[in-house]
Symmetry: C2
Subunit: 317 residues, 2 copies
């Protein structure tokens, strides 16, 4: 993060994509619009608003183009959408999406089960999307971010080779990705591994080393954030209210909770640009769009500590 941006760490909200994708029933499109607007108003600089996958497979994401078209009108917000392949990228481009994210699984079994492609075939798909980016006129140009999923272990394969994760990340950068991050899809990561692997990623990829997508399945989500910070990571995905997965349920999403992440960072003196009260208030929109859906998170329940001060306030003092 640059000093000009006024923030030290970029928190990227994935609830409207990753969260909603794990909930069977769809959230009404107008509630999505309102929720994304509330998240942006709370200061979130980047939001992953949807996924350009087959509406047959994920009816919750059928309105992705509408959601993108509304979200890109919000000043100062970086709008991100997931695309699984070139076809999805073409749809995302048509909707005017400024930043695409593509998951590429390091685990061969997970990759085959999930997208019926080997990791090597997935790299070629990233190359095709990057070629589309490069031939797109500048005013419609989009960024391509890749997240290496199952980078810290796989529920099917168990441990995943760290050398292979780094090799794959290098190939993805060479294929043209603007940045390559690492995802703990399965909640297997531990802080020592996170620090080691992000350290290697940054040494190998330099400027193209991307952010951390961490889960809290075994309660280690924020512990892994601390380790990633030590390795120099400055971008973190998180989901408001941990939407889409009980942190306890194996196989469920279990994203780290945005409110808890922001509280952690701000309490450590790292500026996020996010207002915690407004962020917590935005939980109500999840309940409006998905009545009865469980909301997770410690800070929303326990409240802010007495005398809590944002990092920027403390820097000014």
């Amino acid at each position: 993060m640059t000093a000009e941006s006024g923030i030290d760490v970029l928190v990227s909200e994935v609830g409207p994509r990753d969260g909603l994708q794990s909930v069977a029933r769809p959230m009404p499109t107008d509630v999505k619009h309102g929720w994304i607007a509330a998240l942006a108003a709370a200061g979130l600089p980047e939001i992953e608003v949807g996924s350009f996958v087959s509406p047959r497979l994920l009816p919750q994401m059928a309105d992705a183009a509408d959601v993108v078209r509304e979200a890109v009108r919000i000043p100062g917000l970086t709008v991100l959408a997931l695309v699984p392949n070139l076809k999805g990228a073409e749809r995302a481009l048509a909707a005017g999406t400024p930043k695409l994210t593509m998951p590429v699984s390091a685990s061969r079994q997970h990759s085959m089960a999930n997208i019926r492609k080997t990791p090597e075939e997935a790299v070629e798909e990233v190359r095709r999307v990057c070629a589309l980016r490069d031939e797109t006129p500048a005013r419609q140009r989009f960024d391509v971010e890749v997240g290496v999923s199952t980078a810290f272990g796989c529920t099917m394969e168990g441990p995943v080779s760290e050398d292979w994760v780094i090799t794959l990340a290098v190939r993805l950068a060479e294929a043209g990705a603007d940045s390559v991050g690492l995802s703990d899809t399965t909640g297997y990561a531990n802080p020592a591994q996170v620090k080691r692997l992000f350290g290697r990623l940054r040494r190998e990829l330099g400027e193209k080393a991307g952010g951390a997508h961490l889960h809290n399945t075994r309660g280690q989500g924020l512990a892994n954030v601390v380790a990633a910070l030590e390795a120099g990571v400055t971008t973190f995905d998180a989901s408001l209210a941990g939407l889409g997965g009980c942190p306890y349920a194996p196989g469920a999403s279990g994203n780290i909770v945005t409110e808890d992440l922001v509280h952690l960072l701000e309490s450590m003196g790292l500026r996020t640009g996010i207002d915690l009260e407004r962020l917590i208030a935005a939980r109500a929109l999840i309940s409006e769009g998905l009545p009865g859906e469980p909301l997770y998170g410690h800070v929303a329940e326990a409240g802010l500590p007495k005398g809590f001060a944002y990092a920027a306030q403390r820097k000014a003092a």
Copy 2:
């Protein structure tokens, strides 16, 4: 931790004291015996088994002497009990307790509300207990550990001066305490603060710098463990199943969960000497003694990762 001990980090179980103290109804004494035996059999090297406070104030702890007498018969286990003052220390000594722990609050308001003593008066009480230790015959000699409570902030006072926390810790060491640790009684600590404060504690106290007692009230418990490890801390308190406090409820105990802590440490390659399956199985004894009491913890619910290996196994491989 020494290489001879075969462990890298000492996990000290506080459930039978700190956990049970927060539960209104008492656990039957024979269930306590069985639970402590099961914890020791799982490999826990140290257990805080009770509190020598007034049975009028805490009827749950009325059987402390019985519990100590049974626990000290378990080979290899360090048995710890909390004492608030000299009178409690005399009762603990009569029961044959080998290690006493005394809480001294850094927050003046918390100290007055809790024990009706100023921090300075509490230091004098520690001095009296250390004098009792020094005049006790060698075969009954006990250690005196002090935990500085509200060291990272106070629900009444808000922020607590770090300089004052260190000053107080130095006075406690000078008063004769064998070790002085820091407690995040209120769940206010953040990783930057934990690393800074334990770093200072270790520089000031050297060998007498004690362990970390961390809470998970705002979801930062294990994140703070990572920071404390970075500062060189090798002893951590934790409570099986997070007994005695919903991690969400302000004012509740919210101890970090022993199972989750052990999984974190072992996954990082740090040996605890503890068997996770046996540890998780010991949760059943809480339910036996306190039917319906909520049990917390991520690892017990999500299970161990596929291909999980203990630190010792990996070191041997």
